[in-house]
């Protein structure tokens, strides 16, 4: 009796505490890989690309990232819960238009901002309810709402952009504090708030749990559907906010969606180690991804590379990121076996 006992437990120990060199390197790569790439990239372009390492350029780089950076925060939650959202780009356009129209009509900046954020929240709520309660695939759902919201953005002013007449509104996009413009502060605030939300709150941990194993989350007493709806509503509101900040920077509401925006957001997240399969994602990783994307784009601009090439490069980065994600999933599965 005792002999069987000891032999069997001996057999199981190696499986539990196996730390070979490759697996150690693998786990270091898991945690630090993209950060290392970011550092190497930064040092390289600082040395090689003229005008990169200047205060003006770096602030410009950061400003160019604000839309992607803010939306990536909530996209991280969507991805971590095992879903994603394609409609965010259209929400940016729609909320900017709506804010512009409301501000021109009422003269109230507050009302305009509230309308934009709320409208985004409603789109997110619809996404969430359809996906979580009706069990419809996130790709199809958000593809459909993306189209609808885009249509509405055009309908607001018959497809034309709206110049905003209220000067106070522009403060949102152009005022600065400590030499850094407000949109950058807003993005940083998003990083901090959603970082805390993900790591320090039940809501954040439940999000990762749902993405990690939905059935287990349900059986562990987590309100899966409600959590998902909250995530999508948050995502809609942040996309709405991003749209408002953008229109403030542009001083107009633009009805055209930047189609590459959502792709950039998802690429940044995946580059930052957020798994498309759900359950894995960190704010620091996501920020790393956003910065890598931003630096590559900034450098291409500095080197006067034609926009068409930039599309090719952005696409290639996304593909690489997804392939890296796949490799990691395969590795996780192997470990799990």
């Amino acid at each position: 009796m005792t002999t069987t006992n000891t032999t069997t437990s001996q057999k199981t120990i190696p499986a539990a505490s196996r730390t070979t060199l490759p697996s150690l390197l693998g786990s270091v790569w898991d945690r630090m890989g993209m950060l290392l790439i970011l550092i190497v990239l930064f040092v390289m372009v600082s040395a090689l690309v003229p005008n990169f390492l200047t205060r003006v350029n770096l602030l410009g780089l950061a400003l160019a990232l604000t839309t992607v950076g803010a939306i990536a925060c909530t996209m991280l939650f969507c991805l971590a819960a095992g879903d994603f959202d394609l409609s965010a780009g259209a929400v940016v356009a729609m909320s900017g238009m709506l804010a512009a129209v409301v501000i021109n009509a009422t003269g109230s900046v507050l009302l305009g901002v509230a309308a934009g954020i709320l409208a985004g929240g409603v789109v997110g709520l619809i996404n969430g309810v359809v996906i979580a309660y009706m069990g419809i695939n996130a790709l199809i759902t958000t593809l459909a709402t993306m189209q609808m919201v885009q249509g509405m953005a055009f309908l607001v002013n018959d497809g034309k952009s709206v110049g905003i007449r209220e000067g106070r509104f522009f403060a949102l996009g152009t005022s600065s504090f400590l030499g850094v413009v407000t949109p950058i502060w807003i993005m940083l605030a998003c990083f901090v708030i959603f970082g805390l939300l993900l790591n320090r709150t039940t809501f954040g941990r439940n999000t990762l749990a749902i993405g990690g194993n939905k059935e287990a989350a349900h059986l562990a007493g987590i309100a899966v559907a409600r959590t998902k709806v909250t995530i999508f509503a948050m995502q809609g509101m942040i996309a709405g906010l991003a749209g408002i900040v953008l229109s403030s920077r542009m001083t107009t509401g633009q009805p055209n969606t930047d189609t590459s925006l959502v792709l950039q957001v998802i690429s940044a997240c995946v580059l930052g180690g957020v798994s498309l399969a759900g359950g894995v994602g960190t704010i620091t990783g996501m920020i790393t991804g956003v910065l890598i994307m931003g630096i590559v784009q900034n450098v291409m601009n500095l080197l006067n590379i034609q926009t068409f090439y930039q599309y090719v490069v952005s696409g290639a980065i996304l593909l690489t990121a997804v392939m890296l994600d796949r490799l990691q999933q395969i590795r996780r599965k192997m470990q799990n076996r």
Partner: protein, 504 residues
């Protein structure tokens, strides 16, 4: 006797923490039907998976037609003339019968499918299994029994010499089963090698030429002929083992009723289920796979909505609409499928322990108290001797037993009144099993009502105060420990010959 066409030579298969197959030697003759019997988890299914190439054996090999083989993919096994027909059929429901038969090698002319030839060939193949099915029908339009015939025809189309059936009659009526036996006999006389796995012992006497009994991953006995063999002998071989007392059972006093289930009916059940469990009582639920035990537990726990019925915990009727409601009333569940329903594989051990302690309110206890969770997790890891390099280790890197203990730890700080444990020791080693038994006894001593669903008969007998047997979606009988024997319980759990109605 000449050399057998199919030979298993020293085949072993180990999974982390379990020896699923242990040095299997088995010969299967041409033109014979070879039955494999054994309890759940005895190793029959694993053996079929080694045969079909789904699992690669840890050691040992097969000899097929005199050639030494180790399959590392199902494609290799198919090419070698092996077909395994599983309980759930592997057909493409939206494609036609003909397309299914020739999937992967459709008759074509420069890549364009030759519809006419496909139909003719399909009709010929179907005639071989005596079926008059219109080959242009979609598979989903056929009843289960005909789909099975299509599956057999497909195996023959691929030139299968060895055909293995895994519980083929579980969803067939008696008449359909007889028809299937007709086909099997026909295959036997045309020199095929037939392997037949079933829990229905009467079938084995009807159809099998030889029987091999499996237990705990080993071959316990081989009967080259079924003449003179009886169910009793087979059952005895299936269960009879040196029962080392790993259970360390001691009787306890029971309190008043803790869980009362009255007329609960829902998916997976065929009759409303009623039973009670007293405070401090351990009730084992035994049945074969598909008896409805897991489904019943999920209904009680609120993971599946019951169609009707009442559930009360310590006299208070529950309104269970989701697991959360059940947990809040002190009723918890450790699910059957650890990997798919229990653990969060990519999350840490600490996270896995704490995940449900934060429920309640809109956001639960919104802000996480990191320190408290750390204390809680490390306390459980120490007390339950969970072997992990650290609290931040991903749970998927732990062995099955340690994963199970971690899931148990999730509930231990609850104000728990009833715990439902579905297959708590499946796939874990003896040492970890004993630790889990002692946790179960500890809970019962604290007046928790414990239900243990298990397919491991000695375990059910070893740890339960009372045993409830389920068969084909209904509760058959409740037996006190003193009156329970392996033979009696297994006889209750095995399906009757008459009740071949098929599950809903």
């Amino acid at each position: 006797m000449s050399d057998a066409y199919l030979q298993f030579r020293a085949v072993s298969k180990a999974f982390p923490g379990v020896q699923a197959l242990d040095n299997i030697h088995m010969d299967v003759q041409e033109g014979s039907v070879h039955a494999l019997v054994g309890e759940n988890g005895a190793g029959k299914s694993t053996l079929l998976k080694v045969l079909s190439g789904a699992h690669r054996p840890s050691s040992g090999h097969l000899r097929v037609g005199g050639k030494e083989r180790v399959f590392s993919s199902t494609a290799e096994a198919i090419t070698a003339g092996i077909a395994v027909i599983y309980q759930e059929l592997h057909l493409a429901p939206k494609l036609s019968v003909a397309e299914n038969l020739f999937l992967g090698h459709l008759p074509n002319r420069w890549g364009v499918v030759d519809r006419g030839r496909l139909a003719t060939l399909a009709r010929q193949q179907l005639a071989q299994v005596g079926e008059e099915i219109d080959p242009s029908l979609r598979v989903e339009q056929l009843p289960i029994a005909q789909r099975q015939m299509v599956e057999i025809a497909k195996a023959l189309t691929r030139g299968a010499k060895i055909i293995a059936f895994d519980e083929p009659t579980s969803s067939l009526s008696n008449r359909e089963a007889q028809k299937l036996f007709g086909i099997i006999r026909q295959l036997r006389s045309s020199g095929h090698v037939i392997i037949y796995v079933s829990h229905r012992l009467e079938e084995i006497f009807q159809i099998a030429d030889a029987v091999t009994v499996f237990r705990d991953g080993r071959v316990v006995e081989h009967f080259p002929a079924t003449k003179g063999l009886s169910s009793d002998v087979l059952i005895n071989r299936m269960v009879g083992r040196d029962i080392a007392d790993i259970y360390a059972y001691a009787p306890r006093a029971h309190g008043p009723v803790a869980l009362q289930v009255k007329g609960v009916m829902g998916k997976g059940l065929r009759e409303p289920a009623s039973f009670t469990v007293a405070q401090g009582e351990i009730v084992g639920f035994f049945g074969l796979v598909g008896a409805g035990r897991t489904e019943l537990m999920k209904l009680v726990y609120g993971a599946q909505r019951p169609v009707r019925g009442e559930i009360s915990v310590r006299g208070t009727r529950l309104r269970v609409r989701s697991p959360k409601d059940a947990i809040n009333s002190g009723l918890v569940l450790c699910p059957e499928d650890r990997k798919d329903e229990g653990i969060f594989p990519v999350l840490s051990v600490m996270e896995n322990i704490n995940i449900s302690s934060r429920r309640g309110g809109f956001f639960g206890g919104f802000w996480i108290n990191e320190h408290r969770e750390q204390v809680r997790a490390s306390g459980h890891v120490k007390r339950m001797a969970i072997k992990t390099p650290g609290l931040s280790q991903k749970i998927m890197n732990l062995s099955g037993g340690n994963q199970q203990k971690t899931i148990l730890a999730r509930w231990l700080d609850e104000n728990m009144k009833v715990i439902l444990l579905d297959e708590p020791t499946r796939g874990i080693d003896v040492g970890a099993k004993q630790e889990i038994y002692s946790i179960i006894y500890g809970l019962a001593k604290q007046n928790v009502a414990v239900i243990v669903v298990s397919s491991d008969l000695p375990e059910v007998l070893g740890i339960s105060d009372r045993i409830i047997v389920m068969r084909e979606g209904r509760i058959v009988q409740s037996i006190d420990r003193a009156e329970a024997t392996e033979e009696r319980i297994l006889a209750l759990a095995l399906p009757d010959a008459e009740s071949h109605e098929g599950m809903l």
